[in-house]
């Protein structure tokens, strides 16, 4: 009897744990699908809220938090009004501050921080003096922490490519990072569900531009 009860309780626990896990997989799947189909500011903002909810439940998992930040970044990119863009980025920064403190070694979150700096620079290119060096330093740090992250290499390469030569940038210095990124995109396989995978195509395109710039 006791064994039956124990087995019963054990199976209950197993069911609840896997049910919990199933809920995670199901929720993330639904929301990520919506994320790939989304294309307006309001939808992205709503999605960010949804991912935040999941992040609250899965408090030790950085991935829902990651998507919460990324959805809001997409909202900022889609927003046309420059003042509103800046305001959304202020919100993104609050999330970035919270989650980079919680997950200090997570290089994918650093990539998003660097990306938000880039959007700030696109709003006002006079801000390049402030955000450019910040982004480069952060990404160099990230590359050291996780040399296998292709997105770190890609964004670092992009940053260097668009930094003028006299400030230590240019196509020549960018090339090695973009090439490394390409290698990593092709070779590295991560088994964690919903792990970010973006950037391969964009990296290849930028690599081509970089190579043709050097060929001249």
């Amino acid at each position: 009897m006791r064994i039956v009860i124990l087995t019963f309780v054990a199976s209950l626990l197993y069911l609840s744990v896997s049910a919990q896990n199933e809920k995670y997989l199901e929720s993330m799947k639904t929301n990520i699908e919506q994320y790939s189909n989304a294309n307006d500011v309001n939808t992205f903002q709503m999605l960010s809220g949804k991912f935040e909810g999941i992040a609250r439940v899965e408090s030790e998992n950085w991935i829902p938090a990651y998507y919460s930040i990324q959805s809001l970044l997409e909202a900022a990119i889609k927003e046309e009004d420059l003042d509103q863009k800046d305001l959304i980025l202020d919100k993104v920064q609050i999330l970035l501050d919270k989650y980079s403190e919680k997950f200090p070694k997570e290089t994918e979150i650093m990539v998003l921080q660097a990306y938000s700096y880039q959007i700030r620079m696109s709003i006002d290119n006079m801000k390049t003096m402030i955000y450019g060096p910040k982004a480069t330093k952060l990404l160099q740090n990230a590359v050291e922490l996780n040399p296998k992250n292709p997105r770190c290499q890609y964004l670092l390469g992009m940053n260097i490519y668009y930094t003028p030569k006299m400030f230590g940038g240019g196509a020549e210095k960018a090339l090695e990072h973009l090439q490394k990124a390409k290698e990593l995109y092709e070779s590295v396989v991560i088994d964690i569900p919903f792990y970010p995978e973006w950037g391969e195509e964009d990296n290849s395109e930028l690599l081509k531009s970089c190579e043709s710039a050097l060929a001249q």
Partner: protein
């Protein structure tokens, strides 16, 4: 544990939870998170702030409401009902998000939406500005081009009708002093400010003592980092040091300008006895005293010297030396604090000391000003889209003018003291559907003239669609008579202006279009007898005038070509009978048409920005004693093309800007007016001299270096 029980329970056991998430004042929050704590059951709010989700959970749970930058709220719910409706108001945590409204296409009837904002870099890169704040403002609609005078003449108003406010405090002497017909420039470096709001009329009840316009400047909160800056210009040099700690910062700057070396290379058209020289020091400090409390302090001191040889209008061929000595001290301290109950308090105190000593051959005029202001303003978002702001300020103004010369060898002093207390109350209201209104009332009392005036200020805006709005505004504006007249007759009454404004504006992505039509009625303007300036009995307030016109503004950014540009056009019809005018006529500082084009292009490959500005102004009236009609003659048109180049580079790893500009590239001859001799020549004709620029073209070469 929950999972298994879920299967046992009947399907009917689900609960629908819905509601709305808003801010304290009713503005909706889009993308807020609403979840049963610890579970996956939840939703996020849509563009109406509404959320809805179903849950099979039973019993007591905590519903968690959260939103980026706001305090979380937890509500205990008992999931035994079929429906639960819960509306929540969240309180803002992050002060940086204070002025945010998260739905697309919000709008206001505030000055911020109706005025034009310029960033420091916009100002410094405008070619005709030469780094002067007011120079950049002259390219905006509604601002007249008065080439021989560097101050703001807005919509038919004289320069004294436009006032400058720094952090809410009135600045008595924002311009440097200069000898007649030599343009003055602003005292303040544009980089001190992160907000430059120029309102060309109908501005808030918060500000007074300006009949035409208000330039509202907001100083920077905290610097980005500690740094040292060095600038070397063809006309002088600057040194600056900024130090930043966690909650404190201070900045020290010293500027020196001397045009003597420059004039020896590029000869001026006028004769200088002493090329303009200036010493100026600036100290700013910031201290964060609590999470939401900030103290700002600024003090500036400067000394200006110049001497120029003017024609003596008593005798053709003779000249007289005019020397100017000016000392100025300005101090401004403000304290801002946001309290827990969401009241925002701003308090400030400022002090100006200014002395101008003008020496005209045998004549001496010493003007001394001591002025102080105390101000306090409280504001709060009340409820459902209603903002309330009220406050008061008190100005103490002490002026003395000492004259000695041939007529009065022992000297005579004229002086007065005035006190101006004022109170105001104003509310911004978001009305249902698409209206927003701002209603304000200001009461001012002028001790010297013993007058109490109430000024209503009303503004109504209607949102046509996501990108455009229509607005109308009305306001009464009062101002004390100028010092130079008040000293003769202390009891001169306040001058007054009424504004009626209609405005349409369109703003989408990088494009802004504004068209504004206005009518200003002036009354109680000061009048006196020009031949008997010193006779107080001829002074009165019987002057009148009007100004009516249209301002058009278009601003855009062609990102594909890295080209930013704006175009301003103003048409104005304005006449007055004031001062020593014999009849109603168009004043000499007005051009009926003004056009300004400013374009800036960034070339990434060269790391350089190229700028161009072109200004056109139609001819102005001038007084001609040879003519029987008063102010009926016109000067020629004004044309000015300026170009500049800013090159960004590094020197020893430090960020550097190399700057070069040329004004009046085409070398157009611009005559602003004429001065006539006091007696006619042998043929009975009054001879004249032209009022022209000191130099046909002005070259500025500068190097700005920031060392971290």
């Amino acid at each position: 544990m929950v999972g298994l029980f879920f299967i046992i329970y009947t399907i009917k056991g689900q609960t629908l939870i819905s509601g709305k998430v808003t801010e304290r004042d009713g503005s909706i929050l889009l993308g807020a998170t609403v979840f049963l704590e610890g579970t996956y059951d939840g939703a996020s709010t849509n563009e109406k702030g509404e959320y809805e989700f179903t849950t099979y959970n039973k019993g007591k749970f905590t519903l968690l409401f959260s939103y980026v930058g706001y305090f979380e709220e937890r509500v205990e719910v008992d999931l035994n009902e079929e429906r639960i409706e819960l509306n929540i108001k969240l309180k803002i945590e992050s002060k940086e998000l204070n002025s945010v409204i998260f739905t697309a296409g919000s709008f206001e009837a505030s000055d911020k939406k109706k005025g034009v904002t310029l960033k420091p870099l916009d100002i410094v890169t405008t070619p005709s500005a030469n780094g002067d704040l007011y120079g950049a403002l002259r390219t905006l609609p509604g601002v007249q081009t008065v080439g021989e005078d560097g101050r703001l003449f807005v919509r038919g108003g004289e320069s004294y009708e436009s006032k400058t406010f720094i952090d809410g405090m009135l600045v008595q002497k924002p311009y440097s002093s200069s000898t007649p017909d030599i343009p003055s420039s602003g005292r303040f470096n544009p980089f001190l400010f992160n907000g430059t709001l120029f309102s060309s009329g109908g501005y808030s009840a918060e500000y007074g003592q300006a009949m035409s316009s208000a330039l509202i400047l907001q100083t920077n909160a905290f610097p980005e980092q500690s740094s040292t800056s060095v600038s070397v210009l063809s006309v002088g040099a600057s040194l600056g040091y900024t130090k930043k700690w966690d909650n404190t910062s201070f900045s020290l700057n010293y500027d020196y300008v001397n045009l003597h070396p420059y004039y020896s290379i590029v000869k001026p058209d006028l004769s200088w006895n002493k090329a303009p020289e200036k010493h100026a020091g600036l100290l700013t400090a910031r201290k964060r005293v609590s999470k939401n409390g900030l103290i700002k302090f600024m003090a500036t001191a400067s000394r200006n010297l110049s001497g120029i040889e003017y024609p003596d209008y008593n005798e053709v061929g003779k000249t007289v030396g005019v020397d100017l000595f000016n000392d100025n001290f300005y101090m401004n301290t403000t304290f801002t604090n946001q309290f827990k109950n969401e009241w925002l308090l701003k308090a400030g105190i400022s002090y100006t000391y200014n002395i101008d000593k003008l020496n005209y051959g045998t004549e001496n005029l010493d003007d001394k000003l001591n002025s102080s202001q105390v101000r306090i303003v409280a504001s709060k978002k009340l409820f459902n889209g209603v903002n309330l702001k009220f406050g008061g300020d008190y100005i103490y103004h002490s002026f003395s003018s000492y004259y000695s010369g041939v007529v009065q060898p022992n000297g005579v002093e004229l002086k007065f003291q005035n006190q101006i207390p004022a109170l105001f109350i104003e509310s911004e209201i978001q009305l249902p559907k698409k209206f927003a209104a701002r209603v304000g009332l200001r009461g001012e009392y002028s001790d010297l003239s013993d007058e109490f005036k109430i000024s209503p200020r009303l503004s109504l805006a209607y949102k046509l669609n996501l990108s455009s709005q229509l607005s109308i505004a009305y306001g009464d504006f009062y101002q004390t008579a100028q010092e130079e007249y008040l000293k003769y007759k202390n009891s001169l009454k306040l001058e007054a202006a009424k504004h009626f404004i209609v405005n349409y504006q369109y703003k989408k992505a990088d494009n802004t279009f504004r068209i504004e039509a206005y009518r200003k009625n002036y009354t109680n303007l000061v009048k006196f007898d020009g031949a008997n300036l010193h006779d107080a009995s001829t002074y009165n307030n019987e002057g009148k005038g009007y100004a009516t016109g249209v301002d058009v503004f278009w601003r855009s950014n062609l990102r594909k070509w890295n080209l930013k540009y704006w175009i301003s056009y103003s048409y104005i019809d304005s006449k007055r009978n004031y001062r020593d005018f014999l009849t109603t006529a168009q004043p000499t500082f007005i051009s009926n048409q003004n056009v300004s084009i400013v374009a800036k292009k960034w070339v990434n490959a060269l790391q350089t920005q190229f700028g161009l500005s072109y200004t056109y102004a139609s001819g102005r009236t001038y007084y001609n004693p040879n003519s029987s009609d008063f102010l009926n003659d016109r000067t020629g048109d004004y044309n000015n093309l300026c170009v500049n180049v800013s090159y960004l580079t590094q020197i020893g790893g430090n960020f550097t800007i190399v700057y070069f500009s040329v004004s009046n590239v085409l070398g157009s001859k611009n005559v602003y007016g004429y001065h006539f001799y006091n007696t006619p020549n042998n043929d009975g004709v009054y001879e004249s001299t032209e009022i022209i620029s000191n130099q046909k073209r002005f070259f500025l070469l500068a190097l700005f270096l920031t060392i971290k």
